[in-house]
Symmetry: C2
Subunit: 150 residues, 2 copies
Amino acid sequence: MHCSVAQCLEVVGEWWSMLIVRDAFFGVTRFEDFQRRLGISRNILTQRLQHLTEAGVLSRISYSEHPRRFHYRLTDKGRDLWPVLTAMRQWGDRYAAPDGPPLHMVHQACGETVDAVMVCSACGVPLGARDVRVTPGPGAGDPLVATAQP
Amino acid sequence: MHCSVAQCLEVVGEWWSMLIVRDAFFGVTRFEDFQRRLGISRNILTQRLQHLTEAGVLSRISYSEHPRRFHYRLTDKGRDLWPVLTAMRQWGDRYAAPDGPPLHMVHQACGETVDAVMVCSACGVPLGARDVRVTPGPGAGDPLVATAQP
């Protein structure tokens, strides 16, 4: 499918995968810690960690030979999922957090409790769905997708 | 789970759901059109449309009584998924589009082909994972989640 959303979902489009990535951002690195925090079966966690490692989102680093033990850390590719995670978190805060946001985000440079806002890379004003139109790019495959307007 | 990422995944954390939302942004409204574009079974599409409608992401509007026919349109809550979709698309463009992006996004106000960039709501500078720390918010339930640092 010539769609970058689909390509992203191919890697993280499974419930647990995105929560593993979330926990990796929190600094979790060890199988046992992911397992305890997520309450996920060992089998599924093993599969998901392997998938994320093969996809280049996590790197697996051995830290013990006997017994064999690994750390899982975000790669640059994994770290670049931060905007996806942040957009999800903010949507959940808005629509599914009746007691208020579970987390606040503090911008270290300015010291304020902030949200992330999407702005235009060219002119800097906030961007929303109604502000943009899409045109076919070099990787366009499906003319219907490529020409439909949001 | 006291986590807004998990709450978002509860609604759209299923491969097809996010692609249905994507197509809804492209202006697709009819069952037959979703089905043809996604190549998805009618059963699964029915389930997914029902789930998204119950979650308030799509609204179902009758446009014919005999036979009974519906349009599916994004609600405001659904339209607010645009940052999630856009962050996913840009990540896919970067890491999984060897022929280049399938789509370009044109900002209608400035006329440029642009990306969306996440910036700080308080001071306006670009935000990344390393620029922020998290603190417990009013809805914090899990002290481990609430105090871990990314």
